[in-house]
Symmetry: C2
DNA sequence: CTGAAAGCGCTTACAG
DNA sequence: CTGAAAGCGCTTACAG
């Protein structure tokens, strides 16, 4: 006999009951219990017995032991959530919330791990996750970028969140920044703006290129000629303030599409200094919907929200689809002429939602 | 024989090797392998054999199967991280990062779960976590408050993060808001301020009472009489702006201690409207260190940072101490005259760090 | 110093 | 329709 009371606080908890206990109580074998509780009893167990087993399990408060099940079946219903760094922005943590919610609904649980962009740590954590026999991996980035999937993940179901696999092979969920740029610019055009500044980023991340492309497409669709002079790319820490001033002093636009909310604050500041009325004299729109900023700016900033929650949610859905039906997903990812997903292959850009407030002239 | 190839992408991965494989390769029994790999081989296995086993394990790239170990030992080295809602502020997610880092260092892994303050969901998730046989629970709140521990957690090692157990029985880690109020006020006093406004919160959360208490203590320590007129408690959404104006128009202080960074923005705004120079005419300090705010405010705001990372880190440390040595921790928690922790019992307030910037007159 | 055996809780062919 | 048995990978008394 093994030590009956390991010195742990947990021992005070009520004892966990197993299918063996139920079998004894219901007067059947454990395999009958297993069959019934897994709903595999059709044509195998009499209705009466099945009913009795279910009631017994219910009344005894039976909860299956996931660990034992995992050992036996090699399916853990656990997903590894790997992130470089969570919560740099208030919204980034929402991808974890979305992922967690989807996982719960699908009967999965999330094991989360931060790596802080340290490749060695990342490998170490992936190994740890494997020891726990996770069924698949979410590889979540802090912001939309091209990612190199760690070789350690090879062969395991994986989906990239807020990033794009460099080879466009691994399913990737990310914000549709081109569409966001289009929608933002188009919103300004709908408000009657003719001379729209793109107040962008001089750092060349994906979002910058895509949003700018969306800006140009919206202009083109509206028949407004593109003017290089209206593009002002800035860096937050250096020239954002001076360039914002130049926007008003030299360019004098009727609409401004800001790369993000932080940049919008520079536009607000410059407008205030010049007594230009945002929402009255000039329309402003941006992207991010950072609560701390939108709370404070007046007039309230109209902006697009990145689909963080949705990315997490969708990623888990796709991952579980791969796990539950690997063969189908595999062939899907391989065939170029697949019917579903034909356009983007395994890539899933998600649209951003516009949050209407008061910074656009109506 | 069971189906050799379940249709899962994971099957492409290299096969997992077990102690059985090592035993065969090294020509010993599996129990010898187990003993050696768990470092329980002293006086039980010859050095030569032990060495051979280790080398074999190494060369075969053996990783123990946590699931099998858990089933056998009832110890999962997994912790349940329960949170009401992650990432409302950029910093809140840092508690998860801190917890995760501590967990990794101690050989544990985190299963995270969000409940969105839904009590029923919470119970459901706790049950799920139990099915995975977590060794203990972190019960993390979004902000410092008194918490009622769910009955479902009873009997399991648990520590509260960013909250205080209402019964002061369950170990709780939270920011030392009284000390933060003291440190902030004292910083102003050190800068020569004599007439210090407390620009606080009219919502009575813990932090408000504590920071105000710290404010009064710092005043008392410095021999500055407390003046009720200098206390201005506001609500962000309603009277913050008008009251900030009143601070300058009627009270005319030389120092202002703001409850948080968001409130500081109202003070900045009011000062600007009146051409009062922050950092030159009046000193301002606050609490939160919200990057999005401190990035934008000029002059840069001196503020105290809440120890989010540290709370997560410390909580995991205490939880693991309970798990590894339950008996000791139990007696500790019960004895009123314990030597360690005598002062606060199971409560651990953590000090906030001051981030010096340019809003205090030097 | 080393190995055979039991068992953690479950699932799954297989035999009846 | 139901049960006995094997086995997932590990640990741990126990016997030698």
């Amino acid at each position: 006999m093994e030590s009956a009371s390991q010195s742990r606080q947990a021992d005070k908890a009520k004892p966990l009951i197993s299918i063996k206990d139920i079998a004894k109580e219901a007067g059947v074998s454990i395999c009958t219990v297993s069959l019934v509780l897994n709903n595999k009893d059709r044509n195998r167990v009499s209705k009466a017995v099945a009913q009795r087993v279910r009631e017994t399990a219910q009344s005894m408060g039976y909860k299956p032991n996931s660990v034992a099940r995992t050992l036996r079946t090699s399916r853990s219903y656990a997903l590894g959530f790997i992130t470089d760094e969570i919560a740099t922005t208030p919204h980034a943590g929402r991808v974890l919330v979305g992922a967690q919610e989807a996982a719960r609904k699908l009967g999965y649980i999330l094991l989360t791990v931060n790596t802080g962009n340290d490749r060695e740590l990342e490998n170490q954590e992936i190994a740890a996750l494997r020891q726990y026999r996770v069924d698949g991996f979410l590889y979540a980035m802090m912001y939309h970028r091209v990612v190199k999937i760690p070789a350690e993940l090879e062969g395991s179901p994986t989906v990239v969140v807020d990033g794009e696999d460099e080879n466009r092979k691994i399913p990737s969920i990310y914000p549709d920044d081109e569409m966001a740029g289009y929608d933002a610019t188009n919103r300004l055009i709908q408000a009657g703006c003719k001379r729209i500044v793109y107040y962008g980023s001089s750092i060349t991340i994906i979002a910058q290129g895509e949003r700018f492309a969306g800006y140009r497409r919206a202009l083109a669709d509206a028949g407004i000629p593109f003017d290089e002079q209206l593009v002002v790319n800035v860096e937050e820490a250096t020239n954002a303030a001076s360039e914002a001033g130049r926007v008003f002093d030299e360019i004098k636009p009727d609409g401004i599409f800001c790369f993000n909310d932080v940049r919008a604050t520079f536009i607000y500041e410059a407008a205030r200094e010049r007594s230009v009325g945002i929402g009255t004299d000039v329309s402003v729109i941006s992207i991010d919907n950072q609560p701390l900023i939108t709370d404070v700016l007046k007039p309230a900033l109209t902006t697009l929200e990145l689909p963080h929650y949705e990315m997490g949610f969708e990623a888990v859905h796709q991952l579980v689809a791969m796990i539950d039906d690997g063969a189908a997903t595999e062939s899907l990812a391989r065939s170029e002429d697949s019917i579903r997903r034909s356009e983007n292959g395994p890539m899933t850009p998600l649209r951003c939602r516009i949050i209407e407030r008061d910074s656009i002239v109506s």
